[in-house]
């Protein structure tokens, strides 16, 4: 984790862990990392976690919760695993320097859970050791735990010469190196004339705007710098390529939009607006906005005008050949034909499509119809038409 590497005041503790492992023997195989040199930003981690826990509304006393004889490297590694999706991710992010930590709430939760786990394992290990030693089990266990837990205080209070390299960073230490800026604010000199003032302000403004422009350009360059490939994706086809044969003939390529606009302007220059309402109405009639005289109800129905009237009305001839000559099916289809013949809104093609649909439908259901007695054996022309 980056904040481990960045901070200078790293705390080196090797005694407590070392001795605890020696005392416990092989009772904590999972904590083999005890023996290694453990390096951690102890105070930094504590303060960070505590502040963010407080921010998240979960005030834990981490100093109490944290057992000092626990190696911080161990829980830092675990923490890292928890913070990132997987150990490999953590490794990768450590290499690249990209960090996407989860929320501080989850960090604090993870920390508390870890601490509790470690504490439990410590207690169980002490129990195991006491049982192997024999004698007064309870007493040895309590003594062991007391030693383990009290070592923390000793290491903090007495073992300063070997435990701490530097104390935690202090606010006063930080402030000590700073100075208050007493240099006078840059103001217009009274000896400066009005014109000079204006010129100075203008020049400064111009410089600022130039800077801003340069920065914008830089950003654009950054965006386009090897990131966006214009010819990577398939074209949208909104721009047509200019015909390349024309320039070879020595002519200027025709720009269609300009041509169209020029034609439009020419037309506008030539044509005059209608001078009175009659001319305007003539124009509207030409554009198809008004009825033409003589009034014909079927204006604009040129395609339908080609179809003879009888085609619309006499539809029963389309039933011949497949519909049984009598019975409910015939009755129904005749009613359909009557209804269609009275419909002025649809074309003959649509009407024939209706009849065809009923034909297919009834052919599909002919078994059912025969069972219900709607078509008899002798009049089963549905079947014959299907073949």
């Amino acid at each position: 984790m980056v904040f481990v590497e960045d901070l200078e005041d790293l705390v080196v503790i090797r005694d407590a862990q070392h001795r605890s492992v020696e005392v416990l023997g092989g009772a904590l195989p999972s904590l083999e990392s005890f023996t290694g040199l453990s390096v951690m930003p102890r105070e930094a981690v504590l303060s960070l976690v505590a502040t963010h826990a407080a921010e998240a509304g979960n005030v834990y006393n981490f100093r109490d919760c944290m057992c000092p004889s626990v190696p911080y490297t161990y829980f830092l590694e675990n923490l890292e695993k928890q913070l990132y999706c997987s150990p490999s991710d953590a490794q990768e992010s450590r290499l690249t320097g990209n960090q996407t930590p989860r929320s501080w709430f989850s960090i604090t939760l993870t920390l508390t859970v870890l601490m509790l786990k470690l504490y439990k394992s410590l207690v169980s290990a002490a129990q195991d050791v006491a049982e192997t030693l024999g004698g007064d089990v309870k007493q040895t266990e309590s003594e062991l735990l007391q030693k383990l837990l009290s070592r923390s205080g000793n290491s903090e209070s007495t073992g300063q010469e070997e435990t701490t390299a530097k104390p935690a960073m202090n606010l006063s230490d930080l402030i000590a190196g700073m100075k208050v800026d007493h240099s006078p604010k840059e103001t217009a000199l009274p000896s400066e004339g009005r014109a000079q003032q204006v010129r100075r302000i203008l020049s400064r403004h111009g410089a600022a705007s130039q800077q801003r422009g340069a920065r914008l350009q830089g950003e654009e360059r950054e965006l386009s710098d090897g990131r966006v490939n214009l010819f990577d994706s398939p074209p949208m086809g909104i721009l047509k390529p200019i015909n390349k044969s024309q320039p070879q003939n020595g002519e200027v390529p025709v720009l269609k939009t300009w041509q169209r606009l020029q034609e439009r302007e020419l037309k506008m220059a030539v044509t005059h607006p209608p001078s009175n309402i009659y001319e305007e109405m003539i124009q509207w009639t030409d554009q198809g906005k008004l009825w033409k005289f003589p009034i014909n109800n079927e204006q604009g129905l040129e395609e339908e005008a080609k179809v003879f009237f009888a085609e619309h009305v006499f539809l029963e001839r389309h039933l011949e050949g497949w519909c049984p000559p009598r019975g409910p099916v015939r009755h129904f289809m005749e009613l359909v034909c009557v209804g269609l013949s009275k419909n002025p809104y649809i074309t003959v093609k649509d009407k024939l499509e209706h009849i065809e649909w009923y034909r297919h439908y009834l052919e599909d259901k002919k078994v059912l119809l025969a069972e219900a007695g709607a078509i008899t054996e002798d009049s089963s022309s549905l079947q014959s038409s299907a073949q």
Partner: protein, 132 residues
């Protein structure tokens, strides 16, 4: 917050670096429709139109008393198998400009407010202020 920003920037980098993603519309699309309710209504109207003819034919089978009951029950099942939005009752008239669901002037498919505004500026053919 920092985590959110870092996620957004990572996503942005990902989108820029991968052309197959950057082809997608990241920016919001503007349509000619006023809101999503209008688009939903339009979708239903299209469904109604798609199934209208078939529905009419099946309904004629259902609602006659000439064909045997078996056929009519079959037609009942077919009607109920159609999509829910194939029925005109699922649509609602809305203003064509503002998508207002109430106070429609039916002939123009506009809400009364839009209609009045257009009429005030003489944009509606044949509409005249009442005088007597």
């Amino acid at each position: 917050m920092a985590a959110l920003f870092s996620t957004v920037f990572r996503l942005r980098g990902y989108v820029i670096n991968n052309s197959h993603v950057s082809n997608l519309q990241v920016q919001q699309v503007r349509t000619k429709y006023a809101d999503w309710k209008m688009i939903r209504d339009l979708k239903r109207r299209r469904t109604v139109k798609q199934y209208a003819v078939e529905k009419l034919r099946i309904n004629t089978l259902r609602k006659n008393d000439i064909l045997p009951h078996e056929i009519r029950e079959l037609a009942d099942k077919e009607i109920s198998a159609l999509p829910l939005n194939a029925h005109l009752t699922r649509t609602h008239k809305r203003c064509a400009l503002t998508s207002r669901p109430r106070g429609l002037v039916h002939r123009w498919q506009l809400s009364r407010i839009v209609w009045r505004h257009l009429a005030d500026y003489n944009k509606l053919s044949g509409v005249q202020r009442a005088m007597w």
